[in-house]
């Protein structure tokens, strides 16, 4: 059995070996990691599908984007029917974070389009905490964004979010299996031609408690999520895109009528007003009873989605800015 002759040698060997192991690990993740068992594959499948839908529309259109609350929330096909303007539901996953979701939406927007953002409160309140969903997706499918939007330290942090077991799994399983192709078909089976997810019925997980969402501290903090929306608003102004922010569908809780939450809702409204970002509806107007949700406080079942969409269309009709924008879009068609 090899015995290191002294603790001095032991310590020096550690000093050399540990950085080398780190370097080897990060390089392996960068070059060999590929997520085909978690959210990344479904996210990529949905992006491909929804971006293709948006690209196929030549006239001006309405695009909804956010996390999954709107994937299963306001239905684009019903909005399209109601206003006679092509609409696509681009929403996918809240874990992709507002910055990336909005950056990605830019590819699908053209001058004269309308973008509606019903972001989750986790995205309004996003303060830069890491998202494993985003990290895995970027390493697997969008290295260009990874290399261009993060400094080296942040890139190392993102690479380090991949566990040894996940790395080993992706090396063993590989990237292009029959199973992956089958999964892609499976992911799209409940998505209609406007990007809405349909056929979500009651689920066992209704037995779980849904606690009120966590408020940022302090509530008046200009979070990274809000800054991303502000930056996107400037982009929209420069490129002739009509931007509207709205609030996510959410389980109604007593807590939301307390002073703390009301102050937060007021802060959001005044923040958008201050930054000249148009708002549709109110937080309370998007809250519904628990019986209309299934596995998350944001995920509506189909019946809930029907009600939510009808309510939202009504709110859109009452909003002068929305109506004048839609009229202009129709005229341009």
């Amino acid at each position: 059995m090899g015995i290191m002759k002294s603790t001095k040698k032991f310590n020096l060997a550690l000093l050399i070996a540990i950085p080398l192991i780190f370097a080897g690990y990060f390089l392996s993740v960068y070059y060999f990691y590929f997520d085909n068992k978690n959210d990344s594959l479904s996210v990529e499948t949905y992006f491909d599908y929804k971006e293709a839908l948006a690209d196929s529309i030549e006239t001006n259109k309405i695009l909804f984007t956010s996390g999954s609350n709107n994937f299963l929330g306001i239905r684009a096909y019903q909005v399209e029917d109601a206003f006679n303007v092509p609409s696509v539901n681009m929403a996918i996953h809240a874990g992709l974070r507002a910055e990336y979701i909005l950056d990605r939406l830019k590819k699908s927007l053209k001058r004269g389009d309308m973008a509606i953002l019903p972001f989750e409160y986790s995205n309004f309140g996003y303060t830069g905490e890491p998202s494993i969903t985003l990290n895995k997706y970027l390493i697997s499918y969008d290295k260009e964004y990874l290399n261009s939007h993060y400094d080296p330290i942040d890139r190392l942090k993102i690479l380090s979010s991949i566990s040894v077991l996940d790395l080993a799994h992706s090396i063993v399983v590989g990237t292009d299996t029959k199973e992956v192709a089958e999964k892609k078909v499976d992911y799209l089976k409940n998505i209609n031609s406007k990007g809405d997810m349909l056929n979500m019925h009651e689920h066992d997980s209704l037995k779980t408690k849904k606690t009120p969402f966590k408020l940022p501290a302090p509530i008046t903090l200009e979070t990274k999520g809000l800054m991303a929306i502000k930056e996107f608003s400037s982009y929209c102004k420069e490129n002739g895109i009509h931007l509207f922010v709205t609030f996510p569908n959410l389980i109604k809780e007593k807590a939301y009528s307390t002073e703390k939450y009301q102050s937060y809702f007021n802060f959001l409204s005044s923040y958008f007003k201050k930054n000249k970002i148009a708002v549709i509806g109110t937080p309370e107007g998007a809250m519904y009873p628990k019986s209309l949700f299934f596995d998350s406080e944001y995920h509506l079942i189909s019946k809930g989605s029907d009600i939510r969409t009808a309510d939202f269309i009504k709110t859109m009709r009452q909003n002068k800015a929305v109506i004048s924008t839609i009229t202009a879009m129709r005229t341009a068609q």
Binding site: M1, G2, I3, M4, S6, T7, K8, K9, F10, N11, A13, L14, A17, I18, I21, F22, Y25, E129, P130, I132, N135, L156, K157, I158, S160, S161, I162, S163, V164, D204, S205, K207, T208, K209, T211
Partner: protein
Amino acid sequence: MLFNSYIFIFIFLPVVLFAYFFLNYKKLTSSAKVLLVVASLFYYSWWNVLYLPLILVSMFFNYYIGNQLSKEKNTKRNSKKSLLTFGVVCNLSLLGYFKYADFFISNINSVFDSAIPLLELALPLAISFFTFQQIAYLVDSYRGETKEYDFLNYSLFVTFFPQLIAGPIVHHKEMMPQFANSENKNFSHDNFAAGFYLFSLGLFKKVVIADSFAPWANAGFDVAETLNLLEAWATSLSWTFQLYFDFSGYTDMALGIALLFNIRLPLNFNSPYKALSIQDFWRRWHMTLSRFLRDYIYIPLGGNRNGEFKTLNNLMITFIVGGIWHGAGWTFIFWGFLHGIALVIHRLWGKLGIKMNNILAWFLTFNFANIAWVFFRATSWEDAIKVLKGMFSGAIELPAALANKLSFLSDYGVEFGSGLQKIGPNSEIIIGLILAFVIALALNNTNELVEKFKPKWYNFAIVAVFFVYAVVAFLTVKSEFLYFDF
């Protein structure tokens, strides 16, 4: 700044370690101590600089009172006692104001149907630890067991960053001589190797083991509205192991970091889940808190010197105080009460002179601790009752995948369905719990491992792999230590 953060591991610790030994190498020993105190206060302020004046005022105050107590050798006993009482009351008032005021007000509101507004104060980090440590210092000064130290040494005793936030709770007499020892001022490869080894083990325990149990415990306690029997047991066991690996992992890291500076902190854990009685458990779990409760509460109350009834009474009081120390809530008090009752029963059983079979003794002790932890973890009575109800009267629901092989069990009321699905994946939870039992019961604990430490290839492999694996696991996840809340 947490021990398991890259800022601490890759910047703060190496810089402070290098600067400390460099100053000592240049014979600037006082400057080296100043550096450690300043670094420790910086470390403390990292969370919230608003807490800094609080710990500084507390230190100045206790140093002054302690000095007066140790100087006044010829002063009348009554005057010294008054000074000690004043010092202890001030410390407890500070703790009471920040930690217990809202608990007190909410109880007043409940009882008298009043609406006194809550203070909603943020709990200053480590206040329970540094307050207890300094109360012990005052009592020892009163007893004439302290020497006269200068403020720099006293500051180092209170603020030394490896133990500042969550212990171990140290005695001045076990720390001061180490800071004064000139041999400890030179960098030691032996201590560095052993300290880094211990730190890596603790990091792995916290980040890889404890944090794996956290989502299951959280799902069972905080998310699920109902739990079947297996889910309820898996929830309580997940918490039992999460707490142990989290706190003992933190302690290993604290001991390991201190050892890098050639300082040996007292042990805090000694395989508590191997205990064969509740008394044995408290000799192995959070040992420095047990020592504090014994030396500064149980013994001053009279200990076992005033008859059986008074002894049992003192045990109850001591453990209820222990419960309150952990948190301002009735569930903590009840947890302390349960342990007090268990100690009383253990003492009465001991009087009978009947030796219990070791396996049965372990089974009872472990399960008692596991059940009592439910009250410690639950954020409300309702959640505690929900978990206990599941543990003792929940439906037995095995995973549906076993239905074909074990269908005969349905004759005995066993159902087949989601298994443990409400709190996490079935196979991961089962494997996780089996491994945790093996590690906690069959393997040497980290104190034993570090005692036997030699610079051999397999220890090199353990340090390198555990350290890298744990760092990779935590870099993007902010996971605080559970005892930071106490």
